[in-house]
Structure formats: structure tokens, C-alpha cells
């Protein structure tokens, strides 16, 4: 009764998906003055992607993801002109776990996105402070190239992640190398994850190390979250950055949405002592499964100099006070 054309059938092996996030960012307290921007990807980076899977039988399958990031406000690529800058990989899955090769997320970024009530975005992005430094001058690397990753099956609630990123420097295997390790545990209302990342420079005497321990507990009327992080940079063998971070947050279901709040503190252990505190509140209203409206407010107070600002998921902010108001549409 129903005839589908060959091309439509061919397409059944591929899914196109995406997210469009746009709204206003109102920023105050920046060095250059106040500004209002129409921004994209404040909550979650705007994207369009292709993914597919093939059943190979015997519980095995191959799969791939290609995800392009773009700014809805300008049409530009959001990862420096890369065609598929968000993530791109091909993988093989079996009873013993998954192996995937390509450009992939750092488990530090995954973990912060999972523990932060704001999903590490909006005016509440905990990584405005969390990590090795301000967004523009360092911090952890969210995505890494040339990565071979192994993911264990779910073992009684535990899932392990091990990543190796090839530095691809001829004659020096350790230069540019990346190592990522993570264990997650989920059991009913409780979730926790430990993540570690080390990215070497070239030469390998420089490196950036991050560790995060995160946990959430869903009490029903409210979900509580907490995270603790340690960051170290070494350049030429000397420690150049040394800091610890903590975040606490809550998510409170309210009507057709959620009220969110978090508090983040960075403790700078170097002589400069440029720490900072940040708090944020927000409300996200889910008009439908695919359309969300949001309004969020974040405030950063720097201990000494004006170093940290309220950042968003993809866009960089300039203000120590910021409001993000906008909408997200998924497809």
C-alpha cells in the first residue's frame, strides 16, 4: 500500500538531527563597557549532525556521528571553521564494549555538562570558572583530535572510558599526546563520575592536567549536584597554573520546566591568587519536547583583577553580570 522511493529507503540508514539556540545576552561589568548581543549557542551549541548505525549481527554494530557546529547569529562555523568541529567519529560496538575513532569530547567536559544544573551553558555555565583558566586563555580542551576511545559496557552501574589521542609528532610519541580516563556510576537517584585528562604540548615538557569528581542525587522535589576539580599546567617543567574548583547546584522541577541554581568557586593556588566566585539562577520552560524558552542570570566576583567573566556554552561573555534569555529548538 505504501511505496517509498529508493532514495527514501537509502536514507533510513542515516538520521539528521540538530539544535538551534538563539537569544539575547545582556552583559554588564566588562572592561570595555556594557553590551547587548543577539547570540547563538548560549545554552547548547547550535548544530546539525548526521548519524547512523549498522547491525552486523552477533550483537555487533558499527556506527558513526558527524556533527557540525554553527552560529545562528552569523552563519559561521563555531569551532574555528572546522566542517564537523563538534564531534566526528566512527565506532564498533560489541558485547565487550565500544571502540570509536575520531574527534571526541574530553571526559572533563562531558562530566561538567552532566553535573552542572545549567548543563555547563547559559549564564550559569560552571566552566566560566571551572578548569585551568578563563575561556580565552587556557582551560581544559573540550574536544580532542586523533582520539581512539574505548567505552566499557555498563557493569552493575559502572561505565569506564579510556581515551588516547595521538600527538602525531614524528620522532616524539609523547609530544601533543592526550590521555583521558573516566569512570561513571549510576544507581537509582544517585549518579557520580570521576574524570581525568592530560594534554601534552610540543615538546611534552608542557602539559595541562585536569581532574573532576562529580555527583548528583535526585531527591524527587529537588536534585542536588556537587563537583570538585583540580587543575595543573606545566610549561617547560615548571608549574604555571595550579587551582582547585568546586561547584554546588540544584534543579527544582516547577510546572512545565525547571528552576536552576548553582554556586562555583575557583581557588587559585599560585602566587597571583586570582580566584573568583560565581552564582547563577535560571528558569527553563519546556514548551514542548523540542522547544524550550530560557532566562538565566549569572554573577562573577573576581578576588582581585577582572579576569573571569560569565561565559556561555559556545559564545564567550564579557560581563561579570549577565542575563541570557532565548529559545532552543531541537530537531
Amino acid at each position: 500500500c505504501c511505496i517509498m522511493s529508493g532514495s527514501a529507503l537509502a536514507q533510513s540508514s542515516i538520521t539528521i538531527y540538530g539544535l538551534v539556540d538563539a537569544g539575547l545576552a545582556i552583559e554588564r561589568g566588562g572592561a570595555a563597557g556594557n553590551v547587548v548581543k543577539l547570540s547563538s549557542g548560549m545554552g547548547n551549541g547550535s548544530r546539525v549532525g548526521f548519524r547512523g548505525t549498522e547491525d552486523l549481527g552477533d550483537g555487533m554494530s558499527t556506527y558513526f556521528t558527524m556533527e557540525m557546529g554553527m552560529a545562528v547569529d552569523t552563519g559561521a562555523s563555531t569551532q574555528g571553521g572546522l566542517a564537523f568541529g563538534r564531534q566526528i567519529f566512527v565506532g564498533l560496538k560489541g558485547s565487550g564494549g565500544q571502540v570509536q575513532m575520531g574527534r571526541q569530547y574530553n571526559p572533563i567536559d562531558d562530566t561538567l555538562g552532566q553535573v552542572d544544573p545549567f548543563g555547563n551553558g547559559f549564564a550559569g555555565r560552571t566552566a566560566s570558572l571551572f578548569g585551568n583558566g578563563p575561556k580565552n586563555t587556557g582551560g581544559y580542551t573540550a574536544r580532542l583530535n586523533n582520539v581512539l576511545q574505548y567505552i566499557t559496557p555498563n557493569l552493575s552501574g559502572f561505565t569506564g572510558y579510556a581515551s588516547y589521542g595521538f600527538g602525531e609528532v614524528a620522532g616524539d610519541n609523547s609530544a601533543g599526546r592526550y590521555i583521558g580516563l573516566s569512570v561513571a556510576y549510576a544507581n537509582g537517584p544517585f549518579w557520580s563520575r570521576l574524570a581525568y585528562s592530560k594534554v601534552n604540548g610540543n615538546p611534552a615538557t608542557s602539559s595541562v592536567k585536569n581532574t573532576v569528581l562529580a555527583a548528583t542525587y535526585d531527591f524527587g522535589p529537588v536534585k542536588a549536584a556537587a563537583a570538585y576539580g583540580i587543575n595543573k599546567d606545566e610549561a617547560g617543567g615548571a608549574t604555571t597554573l595550579d587551582s582547585s574548583d568546586m561547584m554546588v547546584g540544584i534543579t527544582v522541577p516547577m510546572g512545565q520546566g525547571n528552576f536552576l541554581a548553582n554556586f562555583t568557586k575557583k581557588n587559585d593556588k599560585t602566587a597571583a591568587d586570582n580566584g573568583a566566585k560565581m552564582y547563577a539562577i535560571g528558569y527553563q520552560y519546556d514548551f514542548s519536547k523540542r522547544t524550550r524558552f530560557y532566562i538565566d542570570y549569572g554573577h562573577v566576583s573576581n578576588d582581585h583583577t577582572l579576569l573571569y567573566a560569565v561565559n556561555y556554552s559556545v559564545d564567550t561573555g564579557s560581563g561579570t553580570n549577565a542575563v541570557t534569555v532565548g529559545m532552543q529548538h531541537r530537531f
Copy 2:
């Protein structure tokens, strides 16, 4: 009887569309000599896009468009390397109208595309003269970033458009700001539109202002078109460009296609007095709903210096005489 896979269902929320336009441009009378080119997007820019909509109930819906422009002759992006350079936005529609955020068209460009028998493309592109100057040295900006646009519902044939583009310069709200206003009216065979655009520089003492009034009347055997435009550039408070434009044109249905002709005149009001006249004729044969063949001829005569040439929708031309012959395929 018919089982569609989940991925095919998931795709029902997204439409992929596009246009491929390629052919030959034969240009004579340019400063560097004659040339024959295999060009793309002469009639309409070649493109591929994703769009979708979600019904939110109560007459409300959200929608998005992501449109990539590319050159079929080279594979390159046509808007300076932007991923989605043609247009990209997310919107909300209700009984009170539409609001959309993103990179959007200037109503000047929309209006010229609607009034010009050549759709502001091919060897008859009226914007070869219309606007603030030659394509490479100014003119109106076809697309603008960071734009919040409101479109009214159709009110007895009238539709209004109001756009605000954030300059996003910290400490100066007016620098880089864009304002676009337009009213369109359609009633049976009559259509008319008034459009205004002002784009500020940084600092805001520089600006480009364009106004166009356009109308068409469909007599049945022939559709007549006319447009009048005023352009002003100011730099540092002084007027640097000051011109007015007019265009008249006709569209005559002939067989499975249309015969087209237009005449455009630019009056340069500055001391340089570098005005120009242009006329063009063409025939477009619609082989099917999706495939069109075209042949067009345009001629520009500059009042004094060799300033204006016959341009096309996306590609820039070099000749004062130009023939475009090619095909378009829509999908």
C-alpha cells in the same frame, strides 16, 4: 503494512532543499579583456538548506532555516567561508505575527528580488546598478548578522517587517547597528513594497542608508514592474555617496517560459557624476517544475568612467556586455 524506521520518522521533522545553478558567462568590455567563465549562482545562488517546523498548538509554532551557499564551479562557500552564509534563523509564529532571530536578509534585497523581472539575478540583475555602488565597492548589504526581526500577520493585504541588528560593540549601542523596515501590499494583480535599511559603521558616524519603493501589476499577457531607490553613505558625518536609482521591467509569458526585459538607471548626485544605464533581455524556459534553462543578455553603459559592470546573483561580472546561459535545478 508499511514500517518506517525510527530514523526516517525522526527525519519527518526536517526538510532538505536546495538549488543548483550553473552555466556560462560570456563577458566583454571589461578593463582586463574579454572572458568566458563557467559560473555558479548566476540566476540564484546555489544552495542546500535544512528547515523544519513544530506545531506548539494554539496556533503557535516554532521553525528554523539553515541555508548554506556554495559555488557549483569550485565547491567553495559563496559567503566568504561561512557554513550557513545565505541565511540561518530560528523563529516563533503566532496569531500576532512572527519573531525570528539570526542572520537574515535586508528588505532592500528581498524587495529588489521581488520586483526585478530577472529576480535580481542573471545578466539582468538590477542591483548591478541599484544600491550604493558597484558590487565590489559598497552597495547595500544583502544579509545581516545578529538580527531580531518581527513580521506582522497579513492584514488586509498588508505585511510589515521590522528588523533590528545588534552591533555588539561594548560600550556603544549604536555602532554597527542595523535597522530595517518594510511594508508590502498585495491585492489581486497589484503588488507593492516599500523598504528602508540603515547600517551603521563603527564608530556610528559612518552609515549606509537605502530606500526602495517597488510595484508590479499583472495585466495577464504581460506583468509590468517599476522601482525607485535612494542611497546615501555618510562617513565621519560627511556624505560620501548620494544616488538615486530607477528600474522598469516586463515579464511576458511565452510558451513554457517567460520573456523578460528591464531597464535600470543610476543617477549619481555627487560631484563625480558616475551614473550609468543598463538594459537586459532574457528568456527562461521551465522544462519542468524543478528544472529551468536560461539565456540572458545585459548591457551597461557608464556615463563617464568604467565603474559598473553586469553582475549576477552571486558571481561578480567584469563585462559591460554579458550573456548568461545555463540551467537551474531545484530539489
Copy 3:
């Protein structure tokens, strides 16, 4: 019984397809030292494309292809940032043949891809030597812009290809011009193809000329392949490169895959006499119609200086010994 949404129907005119190829390249013997890389497109360039066709009746049809190339290991475009760098064209097909306009393959590249058991990829890529020079310093141009190509219908096993690429240099029709000619013949187990390409520089006193004659014969238990090539570069009227190439190879079906081997020899006819020899062996296991695993080994021995290395389909190699091991997934 089955209702498809309008958007799904609209998509029936377009097919999305692609290939993801990723794995490890282990390279030894390069000037800068040994290296292990996680690479993409070693066997065949990773890609995602859109193609479609429209039946115009009377045996005529229009069609298009837009093919984007990307690196799975980094997310970057693989043809220098081009949106659709692999190929993009629109065409018209009738009983008299096909005409297509756009960015298209050189028949030299097509022919080498067809005759080489390794498909001109993996650690056995015959074009590591075949062509005008090492990948980074010349060689034939795989893809050309501004190309008008005519392809004959299949005439008793013969198919002809004629390409003209416009140089688009004003005042000089021959500068930058490309001419490609090819004839292929297939009859049962026998296949053969002759291809010629000439790409002019600007000015046209510089040019690159390549000729390849290739043939394969499928004996059943084994398929034999052979190719011979002649390459000439001229700069300012003087011959700067002058070489001939030969390749022999076999493909042996083994189990659910193929064992492959080839031997390539470059004879440098200039005073420098920088020729080289290369041999490669490999096995490709087709887990399914869409998923392939591969392991290949290639070795280059340069006659004098370290000029040639084992290259892959898209990525450039650094080693005179190279192993490629990885997987491909088509969709």
C-alpha cells in the same frame, strides 16, 4: 495505511550518502622520524554527499551531486576548506550522452582509482609514485574547477569522456585552461581505459601533461591489473619534469574479502634521475556490504634521495614503510 509527511516526501528527491574511513597509520623511515597517526580517509576519503535526479521524460533527466570531504580525525574539510571540495556538479542526460558542469574529477585520477587493486588508496596507493611528482610538490590535479564535461553513452562497451575547464583569465583564454580526454572499454572480464589531461598555468607557457593507459583482466580466481603513465611538466617553455610510471597488481578473492598486491615503478627521465619503486600488500575484509576492515603494508625505495613516501587516498604519509589498519563504513 501509511501516511508520510510532506517533508519526507519532499526528501524523496534527494539521497544522502557518505563514507567514514578511520584507522591507524604506522610510518617508519621518514626524514623527521617514525610516527603513529590516527588518520582519516586512508583508503577512501571520508565524505558526506547529497545527490538527486529528476526524470524530464523522453529519456531525458537532470541530476546533481554535492560531495563534502572531511577528516574524521580532526573534523576539518579535506580539500582546503572547500564546502563541497570532493565534487559538485549539475548535469543533463539524454540518449546522446551526458553533459555536466562543476568541479569534477580528472580522468587520470578516475583511471588510477579503477586500475589499482588498492583503489589508489591505503598503504598501496599507486599514485604515491604515479603522476608528476610527490603529493606535496606537484603530481596530477585530482579535481578541477569550472569544468564542462561530456560523457558519451555506452557504445558497444566503449565510453568516452571529454572535459574542458575554463581558465577564467580575462584576456587570455588558454591561461589556466584544462583539457581532459578519456576512452574506457569494458567487455566481460576485460576492462581498459586511456586517459589524458593537460592543465595550463598562468601564463599558459607552463603546463602539466599526464597520460595513463590502464587495463584489468578478471581470470576468476585472480584479477590482474596493469597501468603505464607518461608525465611532463613545462615551465616557461622548458621541460621541468619528465617521467614515466608503470604499475602491475593483483586482486585475489579470499573468504569474505580480498588479498591485494601491487608494484609501482617511477622512471625519472630528467638529469636528477630521482626515480623510485614501491610494492604493497593488503587484505580487506568486508564484514557487511557497508562495513570493511583493512590492513595494508607499503614500502617505497627511492633511487637516490628521500623524495617519495607511502601516501594514502587523502592523507599524506611521511614513511618509506607504512602500515594502514582501520575500518570503513558506508551509508
